[in-house]
């Protein structure tokens, strides 16, 4: 209805800014929201914003808000290096930095840490201050692992089991000399985009041994009036480099990409990384499935841009199973196996293990439900990991 009214107004010659008022079911409005949420002016006048570590310019690389106790809450969106700048009249600022890998060396002003959270007391000289950090290069000298899955929806208990298994996975990865560096969550974190559901998922992920980079699915963007996903997790479209792998996550929750995101595809995808991965909720290559893109033209454009850059892998959810697509122009794996209903007698839940050495290897780590027999015959690709 709002688009009809806008059209009527536009016919009268009164074209206006997009997202005024905002409808967060449309991707362009979520882009605006995630950028606004990556900067903050606190009650004490301290200005904070996330930056692109390479370019040192404002970039939507995380979520910022002021906690009730006056501390600045900053959640990192990506898994690699990070940078925040602070300036203002206050002599110092308390910062609660969330979603930080435990292996990131101590940060300037660090007072305490618990799990993925760092508590910082940052001095604010007249020229401002910077919080920056990242994984030590020697950590991934011999390779590393990432995990990925999507689609939890109405089954947060299964997410809880997966998070518990990630601790075992981190130990396995350490033993293998390819440390686990992060988790990629491919959308449909919630069922109804409710703030309580999304916060529950965020709280569950706080127990993980590694940080999580997320992007929304169609079930996460119901709410037209509040950018609930972005207010909980930060940007849905973001890119980061982790140990020589460039990971680009794209907000396809509306079955399409924002035009401003399409326009930035070269900027997001280009880089000098050894590996290029793209992750989103809706698989861009349909391959006989319904896939789920409203804008199939955008999906095909995305495939062309990824293929032109010899991308190594496209990750997606939406379909509640594991699937490989051998005919795709870029290797594509769907792992919507985080707990959403599969209407199967014995669901196939778990996550994708990606091991980066000289090449990229993938396999599926099953996290069965209690009472499950585990491996079933004729399971789909990717194959189950063999320890």
């Amino acid at each position: 209805m709002s688009r009809v009214l806008v059209a009527i107004v536009a016919l009268a010659g009164c074209a206006r800014p997009e997202c005024a008022p905002a409808n967060y079911r449309y991707p362009e409005c979520r882009v605006q929201a995630e950028w606004e949420l990556s900067r903050l002016v606190t009650s004490e006048g301290v200005e904070v914003h996330f930056e692109d570590p390479g370019a040192e310019v404002w970039d939507a690389r995380g979520l910022l808000h002021e906690d009730a106790d006056g501390a600045i809450y900053a959640r990192l969106a990506g898994l690699g290096t990070f940078r925040l700048t602070l300036s203002g009249p206050a002599p110092s600022a308390r910062v609660r930095l969330d979603n930080v890998h435990p292996s990131v060396p101590p940060l300037a002003g660090e007072q305490a840490r618990h799990g993925l959270v760092r508590e910082l007391e940052v001095d604010l000289p007249p020229g401002g201050a910077v919080i920056e950090g990242g994984l030590p290069a020697e950590l991934c000298r011999d390779g590393f692992r990432l995990a990925a899955f999507g689609d939890v929806q109405k089954n947060p208990l299964q997410l809880r089991r997966i998070v518990a298994d990630l601790h075992a996975e981190a130990a396995r990865a350490e033993d293998a000399g390819t440390p686990l560096l992060g988790l990629i969550f491919l959308g449909d974190l919630s069922e109804t985009s409710a703030r309580t559901e999304l916060r529950n998922v965020r709280d569950l992920l706080a127990s993980a041994p590694i940080p999580t980079a997320t992007t929304p699915g169609n079930h996460d963007v119901y709410d037209a009036h509040d950018a609930v996903y972005n207010e909980t997790f930060g940007p849905g479209t973001h890119a980061f480099d982790v140990c020589g792998a460039r990971v680009v996550l794209l907000d396809s929750g509306s079955g399409s990409l924002a035009s401003s995101v399409v326009g930035r595809l070269p900027e997001l995808l280009d880089g000098q990384a050894s590996f290029l991965l793209a992750g989103m909720h809706h698989p861009p290559f349909a391959g006989g499935t319904s896939a789920g893109w409203t804008a199939e033209d955008q999906a095909q454009l995305l495939l062309a841009e990824l293929a032109a850059r010899d991308a190594d892998l496209v990750l997606a959810g939406h379909l509640h199973r594991r699937m490989s697509f051998p005919g795709a122009p870029v290797p594509q794996i769907v792992v919507g196996t985080g707990g959403a209903s599969q209407y199967a007698v014995d669901p196939d839940y778990g996550y994708l293990r990606m091991t980066f050495t000289d090449e990229l290897d993938t396999c599926f780590v099953q996290v069965p439900t209690p009472g499950s027999d585990g491996e079933q015959p004729a399971r789909r690709a990717p194959e189950t990991c063999v320890e």
Binding site: A60, E267, G287, L303, A308
Partner: protein
């Protein structure tokens, strides 16, 4: 709940004439009843099984076809209550032999551009016994360049994306009349058709960085087939279904191509109603056609989304066409206004010419 009530009302309205012994109403009743069952099954399938569908989307077919059939049956029932819908209204409207069109919508946002799209279509046809052969060619192009702004806060004032599209749709069709034509009863109520298609889209894009990309997307629909059912002299329902194969090619510094690979299932369904104008219109005999339809394809990014059902459905459409004829003229004029109901749907106006032999 409200939608269910509306569908039930349409179903009831469409069945009422059957109770009164109206043959067209009986056909509508069968169509609406069967389609309502199909709609309910598809809706249940989609909302229960949801995103877990891994291969194809028959649920969307049931919903799309069911909603068009039930809605159309309701439309037909309303028309039957107001006028005669049984007697044939003369040669039915078909795509014109040649037509020009213009399509588009308003530019909604400051600093952006949404130029109109111009089109040219031709549909030569020939009849051979029980077979009707035609070839529809529809070419269109944006009359300018689409421009999207970068709306990010923080001083991003330039254009995010510029694009233009040239499209060509080709559709040969073989249509068979198994019986003695509409009105003859039995198989005469049906037409069978094989209508393979190919859709070509050449897109030119310029990104925010100035980098350019030319993209050529092709959809091959080699085996689309279906039927048209004449519910009465003036009302028809049709459905076509087939596989789709998508092909992709791109130019630029890293040119490449992808051969045809299996894509989403395709189908198209429509319900139309012919209504003769009660008197002369602008000095001409006029025949109107009203159509509601659904196309299961998001190839052009115009799908219909509702709630969390995003990306499952293609666009609905509604159209009105009118053919103006005068006995002494060898050509009839056919005007059309059609709108797509979905994301970024367009409204198209067409003007075409129909040979007098086809216009009656």
């Amino acid at each position: 709940m409200r939608r269910t009530a509306l569908l039930a009302a349409a179903l009831l309205a469409s069945t009422a004439p059957a109770l009164a012994g109206d043959p067209g109403g009986e056909a509508r009743a069968w169509l609406a009843g069967g389609s309502a069952a199909g709609f309910a099954a598809g809706a249940a399938w989609l909302f229960i099984a949801g995103d877990s569908l891994g291969a194809g989307d028959p649920a969307a077919l049931l919903i799309g076809a069911g909603s068009v059939a039930v809605g159309g049956a309701g439309l037909g029932a309303a028309a039957a209550a107001l006028s005669d819908t049984e007697a044939p209204a003369g040669p039915r409207l078909r795509p014109p032999l040649g037509a020009l069109g213009i399509a588009g919508g308003p530019t909604l946002y400051e600093g952006e551009a949404r130029p109109l799209t111009g089109s040219l279509a031709a549909t030569p046809r020939a009849r051979a016994g029980r077979f009707d052969l035609s070839l529809r060619a529809d070419a269109s192009r944006t009359l300018g360049t689409n421009a999207d702004r970068d709306w990010r806060p923080g001083g991003f004032t330039g254009l995010a994306l510029q694009s233009s599209t040239t499209a060509l749709d080709l559709r040969p069709e073989i249509r068979m009349y198994p019986g003695d034509g509409p009105g003859s009863g039995g198989w005469g109520q049906l037409e069978l058709a094989l209508r393979p298609s190919v859709w070509l889209r050449a897109e030119q894009l310029t990104y925010a960085t100035g980098e350019e990309r030319a993209l050529r997307r092709t959809a091959w629909l080699p085996a689309t087939a279906g039927f048209r059912w004449h519910l009465s002299g003036r009302q028809r329902f049709e459905l076509y279904i087939g596989p789709r194969f998508d092909q992709l090619a791109w130019t630029g510094d890293e040119a490449g191509a992808v051969p045809p690979t299996l894509g989403p299932l395709y189908f198209d369904t429509a319900y139309d109603l012919h209504v003769p104008h009660p008197a002369e219109l602008l000095g001409h005999d006029a025949l109107h056609r009203f159509e509601v339809g659904y196309e299961h394809s998001n190839f052009d990014g115009t799908g219909f989304n509702t709630g969390a059902a995003i990306g499952f459905a293609g666009p609905y459409r509604a159209s009105w066409d009118v053919r103006l004829t005068r006995p002494e003229r060898s050509w009839a004029l056919q005007l059309g206004l059609a709108t797509e109901i979905g994301e970024h749907g367009e409204t198209r106006l067409t003007v075409g010419l129909v040979p007098a032999g086809e216009a009656g």
